[in-house]
């Protein structure tokens, strides 16, 4: 492109001369800090780059040594030091090998914009899928927690009003993976396979990490609760009867659940489902594990 020489001069010099002079000073300072002396020009030579390479190699070795002890492998303790060390490596390469430290500030801004955005995107996805992901909630839970001061004095304490069968909320990281369609869970018990599959229990009942049905009461911890439902019934008796004769007893708020479940709904829904005695045994066995 041909421009008038005068115009070019206006452009190049006014906008950048001062800035670059400033940058050069800064670079010299950093080099002195980092390498002990100011290299020729603003770029490093063999010695400086070599020292940096050794430094980076040593960091890599330290990173490795951190995770050699078996107790530290995969533990949360090492995450912070490892991340810090690799961030140091990262920015050393960017600043000195990619000599971004010595370039026009604009390049630095462009790269950091992309880098920061990529980091934010990745972090927010991890947060959205991890920390902020709502734990699967039985929809039968009360949407609004009861007001404590409205509860008459003779009522049980609030803690008892929440479904006591529910296990304490799990750490999101430990959550079992969602159940696959068809129930092909590796190592699933026959009862669980039935629960998800042919017996179709999962379409109405919720078990954390296994099923999310909402029409019937959630079954987490049912093995602990079942013994208290009908006096004289053991947990196994109660569960077996609930499967075979659903209408004999319908759970509700009296059992500490959040709502009264509809009488006759389960028998109507189960009308088309044939269960053999072995199936019922397997289901009972499975449900009895849910303490």
């Amino acid at each position: 492109m041909s421009t008038n020489p005068g115009q070019e001069a206006v452009l190049a010099q006014q906008e950048h001369a001062a800035h670059e002079e400033h940058a050069a000073h800064e670079d010299a300072g950093i080099s002195r800090f980092f390498f002990g002396h100011v290299p020729e020009g603003v770029h490093g030579g063999m010695k400086q780059y070599g020292l940096l390479a050794i430094f980076l190699g040593v960091i890599t070795l330290v990173e490795f040594l951190i995770i050699v002890p078996e107790g530290l492998q995969g533990s949360g303790v090492v995450i912070a030091p490892l991340v810090i060390l690799s961030v140091i490596k990262f920015f050393c390469v960017v600043a000195f090998f990619m000599h971004l430290k010595f370039e026009n500030q604009l390049l630095w801004q462009i790269f950091v914009a992309g880098l920061a955005l990529g980091l934010v995107v990745a972090l927010s996805l991890v947060l959205l899928f991890g920390v902020f992901r709502p734990t699967p909630r039985a929809f039968s839970e009360p949407r609004v927690e009861p007001f404590v001061h409205h509860a008459p004095a003779e009522h049980e304490p609030v803690a008892r009003m929440l479904p006591e069968e529910l296990p304490p909320p799990a750490d999101p990281a430990d959550l079992a993976p969602p159940a696959p369609a068809g129930g092909a869970v590796a190592g699933a018990s026959p009862g669980q396979t039935l629960f998800i599959g042919t017996a179709a229990c999962a379409s109405c009942h919720a078990i954390q990490g296994v099923a999310q049905g909402v029409l019937g009461p959630p079954l987490d911890g049912i093995a602990s609760a079942a013994g208290n439902r009908i006096s004289g019934y053991s947990a196994e008796d109660y569960i077996r009867e609930s499967i075979v004769e659903p209408d004999a007893y319908t759970a509700g708020t009296a059992d500490g659940l959040s709502q009264d479940y509809q009488q006759g709904l389960m028998s109507a829904t189960m009308a088309g489902i044939q269960l053999t005695d072995e199936d019922v045994d397997a289901l009972v066995e499975y449900l009895l594990q849910l303490r």
């Binding site: 115009q7 206006v10 914009a113 709502p134 369609a181």
Partner: protein
């Protein structure tokens, strides 16, 4: 380079078909983009028409449910990726070098590559029609509807791979314009002296280069699932379909602003010109655009309120979505403030620009109404959303694009369009647009879900749908008038002169149509609205400013035409197309696709070894 010069000489024709295939002139590439975009606009419009005809009354059976699915998928995909984006690229290409006083873009061959890759990618996607394999999972193709068991056939492979190719084109164009605008401004044109259109182009291009890698990854994962049996969105293996939604909308929301910011830039040029006033609050308009671009990264999950992200995520995205309305609203006030007390000249471009502002306000307000997540639970997947997106993208982007077409028509063609026909076009399109999309607000709030291929009678939706279909035909008539006006004026229009509107930007200082070298002498910019400054100073001396006189083009070095962009694009689309080959033996697609890779590599090698034409002499001098 000397030794390689002889392999393939650079093409040297400047007329005929070859000249168009090998051109690297940004003005010609802009024209190619424009015509291609309009071609796909017609195709997307026909698809819309089929949907409107099907929905005109209850229990209609004009098309099957499957075809209806294909129609709304292709309508959305076409209009967004093959119409509005390339129309934006049309303006970028034609105007950016002219407005910043440059001879061409920074990488002319990369620019040609962008165009051909876009065209081939778009054609590849439509090639699915020829063999009856049309994508049908909606323009956002939610997983796991796109998983192989639920979406048999090749339709979604066409979708994913073509979109990947279109992404390559957009990325290349984005890189090119970022570098061009940062690095090729005329002397004196500091950032805060750039026309707002250039600013919006820069912001859009930055959004492009940052947002498209995300959809690239999402499409890689989808393709891997469908073609190579990966598990990304396979629930049976623990995969999570929601991840697709996150990745898609992480791209998709910046994409919304990629679509609308160029139109905002166009309108910001037009309103000052016809109000005879500089843009009110120029820095505020610029910073609003930047703030919109930054915030567009923080709102994506408002597309996903009903997914069940939890109260924290929904609250955060509700707030950010409401906040992004602020910089947008600021811009509206700036445009209105520019018109305030201006001596307004209601030419067609101005009418279109005012139409843009009015309709964009409607679309923006309905947008804010579903920023509120509880309210959005009622609106999700209803025609209310369809109404909103069309007020923003038709009332916004398309009106902005037509405003730009009319405004720069004299510059591009050298002729003046017919003002009366232009105004008829505007009024018909304005009425037709509102007739089509306004009733959809009511249909949606009355419960009509989007993407249904028919509906039973008795819901009370017939009236709304009939109105919408009538509106569609009004729009069609307005577009026929536009086409007539466009081509007739090229032949019979009056000579426009170099500066018919007394406009403030540099492109009007050269003759119309612009000479191939743009500026014989690179202009020096001494402030915002550079050409107004020149003209006002001349007027004070009692002179007028003529167009820059022509010079012999051979005295000015221009980038030479090249075969390699075309060849490289062809290789890229072959890679994607090869994976779609299905001739019984499944693995044949890999070697075929591999051939495309070889073509691409050869193209790149030829490209990088191609001698810059001007170095013939220099190289000869050295020996």
């Amino acid at each position: 380079m000397v030794t390689i010069t002889g392999v393939i000489p650079r093409p040297s024709t400047y007329t005929g078909l070859w000249s168009w295939l090998t051109t690297v002139d940004h003005k010609r590439i802009g024209a190619l983009y424009g015509f291609s975009a309009f071609f796909f606009f017609i195709i997307g419009g026909i698809e819309a028409g089929i949907m409107r005809m099907q929905l005109v009354t209850s229990d209609n059976s004009m098309v099957s449910a499957d075809w209806f699915n294909a129609m709304f998928t292709m309508h959305g995909t076409t209009m967004i990726f093959m119409v509005i984006m390339p129309f934006g690229a049309t303006f970028f290409n034609f105007l950016v070098p002219l407005m910043i006083g440059a001879r061409d873009v920074a990488f002319p061959r990369l620019n040609a590559f962008s165009y051909w890759t876009f065209l081939f990618g778009a054609l590849l996607m439509h090639a699915g029609f020829l063999i009856g394999q049309v994508p049908d999972a909606g323009w956002f193709s939610y997983a796991n509807l796109t998983a192989a068991p639920f979406s048999e056939g090749k339709g979604l492979d066409f979708w994913a791979l073509s979109l990947q190719v279109l992404g390559v084109a957009s990325l290349a164009a984005g890189f090119n314009f970022v570098v061009t605008i940062i690095n090729m401004r005329a002397p004196g044109m500091s950032l805060m002296r750039m026309p707002v259109f250039i600013w919006m182009t820069l912001v859009t291009s930055i959004l492009l280069v940052l947002a498209f890698p995300i959809i690239t990854v999402a499409l890689i994962e989808l393709t891997a699932d469908r073609q190579f049996g990966a598990n990304f969105f396979n629930t049976a293996a623990g995969g999570d379909p929601i991840l697709w939604q996150h990745l898609f909308w992480l791209f998709g929301h910046p994409e919304v602003y990629i679509l609308i910011l160029p139109a905002m830039g166009v309108v910001s040029e037009i309103i000052p010109t016809y109000s005879r006033k500089p843009l009110f609050g120029y820095p505020v308009v610029v910073f609003s655009g930047i703030v919109i671009a930054i915030m567009s990264w923080a709102v994506w999950s408002h597309h996903m309120f009903t997914v069940g992200l939890g109260p924290i995520a929904n609250s955060v995205f509700t707030i950010t979505t409401m906040l992004i309305a602020v910089p947008t609203g600021v811009k509206i006030f700036n445009w209105v403030g520019t018109m305030w007390n201006g001596s307004i000249d209601l030419k067609t471009p101005m009418l279109m620009a005012i139409g843009f502002v009015a309709l964009f306000i409607v679309g923006g307000l309905s947008g804010v109404s579903h920023a509120v997540s509880p309210s959005d639970f009622q609106q999700q997947d209803t025609y209310y959303i369809v109404a909103h997106i069309h007020y923003v993208l038709f009332g916004g982007a398309i009106f902005g694009i037509f405003a730009g077409i009319y405004y720069w028509y004299p510059k591009i063609t050298g002729k003046m369009y017919n003002e009366l026909l232009g105004k008829i076009h505007f009024w018909l399109m304005f009425v037709g647009m509102n007739l089509t999309f306004f009733p959809m607000h009511y249909a949606g709030l009355n419960g009509m879900p989007r993407r249904i291929y028919t509906y039973a009678e008795g819901f009370g939706w017939e009236g709304m749908n009939l109105l919408a279909t009538i509106g569609y035909f009004v729009i069609v008539i307005s577009l026929l008038i536009f086409i007539h006006n466009f081509f007739r004026s090229i032949k019979k229009g009056e000579e426009a002169g170099h500066d018919p509107w007394d406009a403030p930007t540099l492109e009007w200082s050269i003759s119309s149509p612009p000479p191939v070298y743009n500026f014989a002498e690179v202009p020096v910019v001494r402030g915002q609205d550079a050409y107004w400054i020149t003209k006002r100073e001349a007027a004070a001396r009692g002179e007028t400013v003529p167009a820059e006189p022509h010079v012999d083009p051979s005295t000015i070095h221009l980038p030479s035409p090249s075969y390699w962009p075309l060849i490289t694009s062809f290789g890229v689309v072959w890679i994607a197309g090869g994976l779609l080959i299905d001739v019984g033996w499944d693995y044949i697609r890999f070697p075929i696709s591999f051939v495309g890779g070889i073509i691409t590599i050869l193209g790149v090698i030829g490209w990088s070894l191609e001698p810059p034409a001007e170095e013939h002499h220099e190289a000869a001098d050295h020996h």
